[in-house]
């Protein structure tokens, strides 16, 4: 994906940096991030060449970038020794790299080039840059190098982790909490998500996956430059949204679930009609010719951004205006405003109807990594790898509040709580913090997942007693279906996040304890998790999307309904087991026992849902559970 900047041609003023990869993974991250290239090479000494050839991920391969600038921020609870080492180094290197091309960073670039050439030719070939050869090439190459490095290291890590150390440190903490858990076990509201479907079809890592507000559809954005729409119930593949010229890093559902917005490394935002899979503005011009279209300069756009911000003619093309990769998107609850955050460090508010840039907020001093609207649409929150979280007034465009954690870790994702009263911020110190943005204080810190280099996603989920059956959603309200909590039903909120070791972790909002861990949900990094009622969906670097459903332990209803008696029995047994061992173990056991579905050839042109239609899937599920 990262090559795409070169596709855009225009050499950009700042050092181009790539994707969510904000630093390297795990242990070595800090050192690599700030260290000199030599260090990086050393630490990289055993890249797995194969893996580097595989696929490009959106979220990674980020070269030394400005985001690093807040050096002291990063890994809080990682290997301390390493951290110290990097700290001693960081002040100088991080700054110089972040801001400008100092001689030093030049050097690093050139070096990386040579490295990458030998390392991963295929990715180089992908950089289609007719213009601005030299510069962008070198850049993309350097990124390539990073990519390969990350891939190798992460795969190494995951390999290391899964067989020998099934329980990473966080799980240990988890087992410590088992006492509590046993007491609380009776609670029917404890999330218990079970893997149900596996959706394959993307040719590259999936950067974001989101369930539509009505809970019926799943949309996934991938580094292969497409977004796909799936049926959340059956897992059936419905549509591919083709048009972006580079990897798609973000997407957002309109509140009516009929519209999708995707943002890409080609700097464009596109609006899609879910049903037709064509641009939502009628007579859309496919192919993204928008770049050449300088004629239709909208009045307002030209006002504000020197003529570069143009929403297409009457908004029928893509929304153009960002000067760099579009990295995060959010629809206002009414659907009339689209907020976008970009590597150009600005937050744009778009008038969706007219496809016009309404307001551009000079939001951050680093790529804007996350954005969200509060439930009444009056506030926008944005975060950046500069460590700031800012709350904006939608109507005036003014900054109302800035939140920074003392350690100033890069913040890579942010969202409002369902009631809009709190902000959940994912930062690269392996922590997720719940902020009260009014008082500016941290209310909760959720730890136990791994997040030190990618901007991974997650959010809030809520389970009601009535959700116990799993499966069909009755609530058609937006906001993840969380908001229509009826007075007489009990609602339990949890926080869910992806983890860089491929896990999915769920915490109780209040007690901060891990209530469920789905181990090894993905090979490599799990990038994104989204929850809507009893449905959860995750995606990762392995280009696979997985769908989970919540099932109560008492009754295996929902998807399991069609199961034979034997299946149910086994399932119960499995659950008892799970009660003994804790969910982390359970998830892991389940995972390891599943016979992997036949993977499609990587270059399969036609995406296919491996999930079978509704009537079939129970069988498959049964199979899975029996094998437990």
């Amino acid at each position: 994906m990262s090559e795409l900047d070169s596709a855009n041609g225009a050499p950009l003023a700042e050092p181009l940096s790539k994707r969510r990869r904000v630093s390297d993974d795990g242990v070595d991250s800090s050192r690599r991030r700030y260290g000199s290239p030599d260090d990086q090479r050393d630490s990289d000494s055993s890249p797995d060449p194969k893996s580097s050839l595989r696929r490009l991920s959106i979220r990674q391969g980020r070269p030394p970038s400005r985001s690093r600038s807040r050096s002291r921020s990063s890994g809080v609870k990682e290997d301390d020794e390493k951290r110290k080492r990097y700290r001693s180094r960081s002040p100088t290197s991080s700054r110089s790299r972040s801001r400008s091309r100092t001689p030093r960073s030049q050097r690093s670039r050139s070096r990386s080039r040579s490295y990458s050439r030998s390392q991963s030719p295929p990715s180089r070939s992908r950089s289609r840059s007719p213009r601005s050869e030299s510069r962008s090439r070198s850049r993309s190459r350097s990124r390539t190098r990073f990519r390969s490095r990350t891939r190798s290291s992460s795969s190494r890590r995951s390999r290391r982790l899964s067989p020998s150390a099934p329980q990473p440190p966080p799980t240990a903490a988890l087992s410590g909490q088992q006492g509590h858990r046993a007491q609380r076990k009776e609670q029917p509201l404890r999330p218990h998500y079970r893997r149900r479907l596996e959706l394959r079809g993307h040719a590259a890592a999936v950067s974001q996956v989101r369930i539509s507000p009505d809970g019926r559809w799943i949309a996934s954005a991938s580094a292969d430059g497409t977004a796909k729409i799936w049926d959340a119930n059956t897992g059936a593949y419905l549509n591919t949204l083709v048009g972006h010229m580079a990897g798609v890093s973000c997407l957002a559902w309109g509140p009516g679930s009929d519209t999708l917005a995707t943002g890409s490394d080609d700097k464009a935002i596109r609006l899609w009609d879910r049903v037709t899979a064509s641009p939502a503005h009628a007579c859309g011009d496919g192919g993204g010719r928008g770049h050449n279209r300088t004629i239709a300069v909208s009045r307002i756009g030209s006002n504000r951004s020197g003529g570069t911000a143009r929403g297409g003619k009457s908004g029928r093309g893509p929304l153009l205006g960002h000067h760099n990769y579009v990295y995060c998107l959010a629809f206002s609850p009414k659907g009339n405003i689209l907020a976008s955050g970009s590597y150009d460090e600005a937050v744009f508010l778009w008038d969706v109807r007219a496809g016009r840039l309404m307001r551009s907020l000079p939001a951050h001093s680093d790529p804007v990594s996350g954005i969200d609207f509060c439930r009444d649409g009056t506030l926008v929150v944005s975060c950046s790898t500069d460590g700031l979280i800012r709350v904006w007034d939608t109507s005036t465009g003014q900054c109302l509040r800035t939140i920074v954690h003392e350690d100033n870790p890069p913040v890579t994702n942010v969202c409002f709580s369902p009631n809009g009263r709190f902000v959940l911020a994912f930062s690269l110190d392996n922590s997720i913090r719940l902020w009260d943005y009014v008082s500016g204080s941290v209310k909760k810190t959720y730890q136990g997942h791994k997040n030190s280099s990618f901007s991974i996603g997650g959010g809030f989920g809520a389970l009601r007693d009535t959700d116990a059956g799993g499966g069909e959603e009755k609530n058609n309200t937006p906001n993840n279906g969380i908001n229509d909590n009826h007075k007489n039903t009990r609602t339990q909120a949890f926080v869910v996040s992806a983890s860089e070791d491929g896990d999915i972790v769920l915490w109780d909002v209040k007690s901060k304890e891990i209530v469920q861990r789905i181990s090894h949900a993905h090979d490599g990094v799990c990038f994104w998790v989204d929850v809507h009622g009893s449905t959860m969906v995750s995606a990762g670097k392995d280009a696979i999307i997985k769908v989970y459903r919540h099932t109560t332990k008492a009754t295996g209803k929902g998807k399991g309904k069609g199961k034979g008696k034997g299946g149910r029995k086994k399932e119960d047994k499995a659950r008892i087991l799970d009660g003994v061992n804790g969910n982390g173990l359970d998830g892991h056991a389940e995972e390891s026992s599943i016979t992997p579905l036949p993977a499609p050839a990587d270059d399969a042109p036609q995406p296919q849902a491996h999930a079978k239609p509704d009537e079939d899937s129970p069988d498959r599920v049964v199979k899975e559970e029996v094998e437990e």
Binding site: G256, S314, A354, V438
Partner: protein, 463 residues
């Protein structure tokens, strides 16, 4: 939600300067919906345009009238909009699909039609040279009831001549404006003779009538609470009255009193007023002036003039005050632009970093005892985590927060929906057919640049 963070409540609660100008054709009347996120405007060509105030863009266009729109009225839920035009008809629109829900034809041009505050299937209409009507459109075939303009004579005298004279007089007595009270049980009607009638909506009889102005009453406006009424008459005086609670069970029609509260006028310039509006709370009264460019704003507590709003050099027609913000919208009579006056709060610098504080004067910094103490990182971390024992509620929503309700669908193809031919004035006397879709230059729909002379306005828009 933003109210938690902004101290906009510290700002003055009446508009200060012009902040936006929006235009779609030639608008003659505007109306905010109850929630205040949409503004409906009626154009001389009969098109009704719904503006989204958040984006200042067109949300919907409704075509069905062919004559000047004379009045607009939103239903409480915001889904239905009643538009009345001088072409003898009124249309109740369903904004879910933008289609006509009901259409009612009259035998005369409509002055104004107002929906029942709680029931969108009922409305009252004041007609030109006709008696007002109460219309029920629950069924496809509307049911109309004629409302009286004159109170029934109680002195049933035998003198035939006098009776005839009275009848003649009554025939000239027309209703020019009619509004529902807050409960919808009564109607307040104003007549050409300067009388205010209170009509029981059930019996459709006048229960109270009083002459309150010397000339024709042109506008009646109620506050949201329904306790005050604003009357604009052609005698160049704007009056406010207190309205008693007409819905109370022990209401005796004979004891009703409508006490006069204020009279607003410009005795120096002898101005007459085009249109008047209450502020959101009823605390202020705004009026557009006849043959003059300014908008006047009076404060109702003392009855004093607080502000004369200057805008473009243009006479303003219909004005509307936003239902809960200090924001005024007015239609320019000449150009048909909708001008919006508002207040802009300055960016607070303290919001830009958590440790910024805005201070009035220099403050000596006193170092805290433990400020530079060094603690091991882990310890700090642990202490922090231990402190997070507060109970948080991420789901519960405060009552009265109605995010649910009618939500207007977002249209992406407004250009195409203008399939009907539309002509635009290219220059004096030349018309050009508007080709669908070229919004940009064709019709000039959308937010316009504020005049360059207004730096404040531009500054705000740029943000």
């Amino acid at each position: 939600m933003n109210l938690l963070l902004s101290d906009d409540y510290l700002l003055q609660d009446y508009p200060e300067h012009i902040t936006n100008t929006i235009r779609s054709g030639h608008s003659t009347c505007v109306r905010f919906n109850r929630r205040g996120d949409y503004l409906a405007s009626g154009r001389v060509d009969g098109t009704v345009v719904i503006w989204d105030l958040e984006t200042m863009g067109v949300a919907r266009k409704l075509r069905g009238h062919s004559k000047n729109i004379s009045s607009l009225s939103w239903s409480r839920c915001g889904r239905y909009l009643l538009s009345a035009c001088q072409g003898w008809k009124a249309i109740l629109w369903d904004l879910q699909d933008g289609k006509r829900y009901r259409e009612v034809r009259f035998r005369a041009p409509v002055y104004g039609a107002e929906l029942h505050p709680w029931n969108h299937h009922q409305f009252a209409a004041a007609l030109f040279e006709e008696q007002p009507l109460l219309v029920d459109v629950t069924n496809e075939d509307d049911v109309r009831h004629v409302l009286p303009s004159v109170q029934k004579r109680t002195n049933t005298e035998t003198d035939v001549a006098l009776k005839e004279k009275q009848a003649k007089e009554d025939a000239k007595h027309m209703t020019t404006a009619i509004v529902y009270t807050a409960s919808g049980d009564h109607l307040l009607a104003a007549t050409t003779k300067g009388r205010l009638n209170i009509i029981d909506a059930k019996t459709r009889e006048i229960i109270y009538s009083e002459k309150i102005a010397a000339g024709i009453i042109t506008t009646l406006r109620l506050t949201e609470s329904g306790k005050e009424i604003l009357v604009n008459a052609q005698d160049r005086i704007i009056r406010t009255f207190h309205i008693p609670d007409l819905s109370s069970p022990d209401l005796d029609p004979d004891t009703i009193q409508i006490p006069l509260e204020h009279k607003f006028q410009d005795v120096v310039n002898r101005l007459s007023w085009n249109h008047v509006a209450f502020s959101s709370t009823g605390e202020y009264v705004a009026a557009s002036t006849y043959n003059n460019h300014e908008l006047y704003i009076w404060e109702r507590g003392h009855g004093s003039l607080v502000r004369m709003l200057e805008g473009p050099k243009e006479e303003q027609g219909v004005i509307e005050w936003h239902p809960h913000k200090a924001l005024l919208a007015a239609c320019g009579l000449e150009t048909g632009r909708i001008n919006i006056w508002s207040v802009t709060s300055p960016q607070k610098w303290s919001a830009l970093a958590p440790d910024f504080v805005e201070v009035e004067e220099n403050v000596e910094y006193i170092e805290k005892e433990d400020e530079f103490d060094i603690h091991p990182h882990e310890e700090i971390q642990k202490r922090r985590l231990d402190q997070e024992d507060e109970d948080v509620d991420v789901l519960g929503v405060a009552n009265g927060d109605d995010a649910d309700g009618f939500r207007m669908p977002i249209l992406y193809n407004l250009g195409e929906s203008d399939s009907e031919e539309e002509f635009v004035n290219v220059s004096l006397g030349t018309l050009r057919r508007k080709s669908p879709g070229d919004e940009g230059d064709g019709e000039g729909t959308g937010e316009e640049k504020a005049p360059p002379k207004k730096p404040a306005a531009r500054g705000r828009k740029k943000k």
